[in-house]
Symmetry: C4
Subunit: 311 residues, 4 copies
């Protein structure tokens, strides 16, 4: 009987090479170059484009079988094998810790929580945490509720290069978006979800999402001045238009962050939301508070109640 | 005091013999013949039809007490007893494994997950995984969240005969439908749910379910060409009409698979959905992504928002 | 510092004596007499009526702190103490078993599940299982998700007398309703929930709940003839009017069971649903399938879709 | 590499000082004075107002990283360090107990449950339990599902002074509201949630929430006379207007409690609900029953069904 190894890696290569779609927008991913040496070690090339050479980062998410691997199968994915997976220069020490609040552990814990909340599903969504000079990033295409610390990428904030890249996995297409929050807002963590409340609000609101005079607003920061918002303050979250490729969102996301200096989140039309905070805990709390308000706004719209209260 | 054995098997035989209903459609189940020898060993005959001899497979689901059996009660179901339940020729080794990703273990894990998601309830729904030449199938009538690896049927892809049949259990009526995905699409796994989002969409859409320009669409494959769909692509899932007997769906399901070569799922009106994928992980991800889109579509329809965006 | 014992029993006696409300309907509870000797041992008399002597069973539910008791506090409830709680004549052996499918264990497991499903909340709802000649009954007023096997009442089917009564707890007011299913339909288990889907359907339908041509209907039995319903069959569940006291429902429940011989459930207007089955597993499956259909029916009504399909 | 300590406390001080907003209502918090000595030991001053000196209690909630601390990080929060955290005079013995029903343990357990029910999210909501002469209070700004017994404040009912204040944490702004239930109604516990069902009902009802003739009403007490409500009784919960600061609600909350002597809860417009009960278990049951009724009322309003039945 063939081993499980071949079972779990079978048939994925056949359908996993995407065809090219013209990139109409100027590429803006260059500040996160993937070093050629590391790139060449990545096992999962099955989805790299045929018609033009592109940065790995611009490749769309796929759905690997890589998470929850056992020792036996850990060196294979999508049909290729790598012997270097346990080598020291992969910097496993950056993600292995018994501390429950180590970024690699927290990312896995939060992904499970977000999956259970319906915010990330079918590999959608992502999360990143900054610790000191390091950016920890959930990989692309892994089922969120099954993520392991060893699946986590680590990028140096200074060099903008990966100092840890799990073999066989690809960096998240969200990376340039997360970097915008880190560099422009000095965020400590950034969360991206496909929350249906977020998507619905982008269908029900035009340029910005607005709500006022709901107690839960007080959980959110003012940003432009110290402290949290007040009950009667109006929360405004900009909505940017979606693009064919996630990384193409970077330009408009950066523009929205500049134009809305008091926002701690940006909605993406028909897509989802990016939320960041000073620490991983604050990012989590802001995300929960905002999703609560988005959910409430949908219900208010359904009942014909305006989301902004006339005072 | 009578033993628990008699308690859990009592009174189910009285009401479990269905009456016949004329089969108006040509039977199409013959490619999965149940060997006469094996059939005669199956304990649960209480639901076989009186008026005409039919293949076990065409019998409707019932609700056995068979799952979560203890050693003591494992050889009884629906009032009958079998001594052969632990015999080697039942091929228990095909379903007993300590590997968490063994098909028999994954099927049980996923059924629990799907039950918690509300996708399978009251014995409805099912799942099947292909490993090498073997098809692993959840049985009929067992409560999904209580399934055990020993409840799993195994069929040979080559011979189309069962190489493992749990005593006292019946094969799922979904089997011929799952086989269509395996033979026509070379699927690695197939999932069937009674998701309310699926049923609602079959009530809100006519011949096909259509949605476009939602980010989550990118989690789904193009099928007819390599790679995943793009954000602005239109996802089309055919809707076939339901039939009195699940196995009677096979003809129209096969026709839909032929007519919609880029579909990785088929909706069944007032019934649910069949989703398949290249591997068990991809099938799971596709099912999650599609259910997300079905749920969103119901909400959009409620708010009067078209599901297909004019570009 | 005072002991925890006094903490958890404090202040409940003050507000727990209900005032009388005239019983306008003929009492029908006499077939389940509570033996005078046992009644006098019950600790929780705080809710017995002042103005007229009534059977304990006709007293409304209250909210004891009795579940999840520790050894220390197990003999106190609502301010009274009992030394007999561990005596052999309380028949603890009837409810203590290591077998996970023992009725007392299953009742506790299902109550937790139903609580998580939102079907029983705030002490509402109940469940009963028949094993041989014994009826196992969840007590009144205990928080469903915290129930312990030692909280379970046991009644003899033959003598209609309790052969086990947990001290300090009261029998459920559902008891005469459950008995109707046992005596009139030879049920193996009976479930009562306050499901919001059930309540909504009693507000949206008149004399009966009706739905047809939904696959999930096939999980339900025909009752009047062997086998399960077919896809195109019409499921009809009678709706009876609610009464001030739960036990006053008995007359109309029995009438509905007689008038709808093919029903395996009765809805109670603005209250909830009673579902029974041949075994505990079938009752659970029927309850899940019916709640699925009630939920779907509410959604169909919201979208203006008739629940009964014209063929 | 910097320690995790600095990681989790970084960058929160920058944005956590709120600006002043004029307090237009007479302050009513003076019955819970925070002793100057204790106040000066509190680490988390980052949110104290700049423009005017105010009682700690009137400061809005913030989002600390304090919960789930490890031994290593337990003495730091928001950038400050305290060595006294393990000192005996902090009265840890008041909150450390192996008894699962000790108030400190129950508060943590219930906060997790309420988080999972969506009633408290993003640090919103709170709970307090009275045991003998002591009031146990969940702190401000801690993520509810991660609360630890050592995060709990304890106040003496007699002296109205804190006899335990966790270093680095702030008392909940709900404290004066909870005290109103303790002093005016002799409550044993008080729960505050941001339940969306509660918020929606304050948007759909005017001065009071009203519902009648729903079975679940029987789970609620009459208060003004012994016993629980009857099925056909009308449940009335007053709705008070929200204020910029939570503690400013005290006056109107006290007025509502006086004017509605049979209410065991008060709704706060666009904010949430306060529910109390004779014991912690009753408060939990009342909260569940009321939320069930609020949820049902929203659904009834959506379908055009009046919540109060004409008899």
């Amino acid at each position: 009987m063939p081993s499980l190894k071949s079972f779990f890696s079978s048939s994925s290569s056949a359908s996993s090479t995407p065809t090219a779609k013209p990139i109409t927008e100027k590429k803006t991913v260059k500040e996160i170059p993937v070093s050629k040496k590391e790139s060449s070690k990545m096992g999962c090339k099955c989805r790299s484009k045929k018609s033009e050479p592109v940065n790995e980062i611009s490749v769309k998410e796929d759905s690997c079988c890589c998470s929850k691997q056992t020792a036996e199968s850990s060196s294979t994915c999508c049909g290729s094998k790598n012997k270097e997976s346990d080598s020291d220069d992969n910097n496993d020490s950056l993600v292995i810790s018994s501390h429950p609040e180590h970024p690699a552990n927290l990312i896995c814990e939060f992904c499970k929580l977000f999956y259970n909340n319906g915010w990330v599903t079918g590999t959608g969504g992502g999360i990143s945490v900054k610790k000191d000079d390091n950016i920890y990033l959930a990989p692309s295409g892994v089922q969120k509720e099954r993520m392991l610390p060893t699946n986590i990428f680590v990028m140096s904030m200074n060099s903008k290069e990966y100092i840890r890249k799990p073999l066989n996995l690809k960096p998240s297409a969200c990376t340039p978006l997360f970097m915008a929050a880190y560099t422009m807002r000095n965020a400590g963590a950034c969360i991206h979800t496909h929350s249906q409340n977020a998507v619905m609000c982008t269908l029900l609101f035009d340029k910005v999402f607005e709500i006022s005079s709901i107690e839960q607003i007080k959980a959110l920061p003012k940003i432009t001045e110290p402290g949290n918002m007040w009950y009667s303050d109006k929360l405004i979250i900009p909505i940017i238009e979606n693009t064919e490729r996630e990384e193409e969102l970077e330009t408009s996301l950066r523009k929205a962050i500049e134009e809305y200096p008091s926002a701690t989140a940006v909605l993406v039309r028909r897509h989802g939301i990016y939320v960041w905070g000073e620490t991983v805990w604050k990012a989590k709390i802001y995300n929960e508070a905002i999703d609560y308000l988005l959910e409430l706004a949908v219900k208010m719209k359904q009942m014909g109640i305006p989301t902004v209260k006339e005072n």
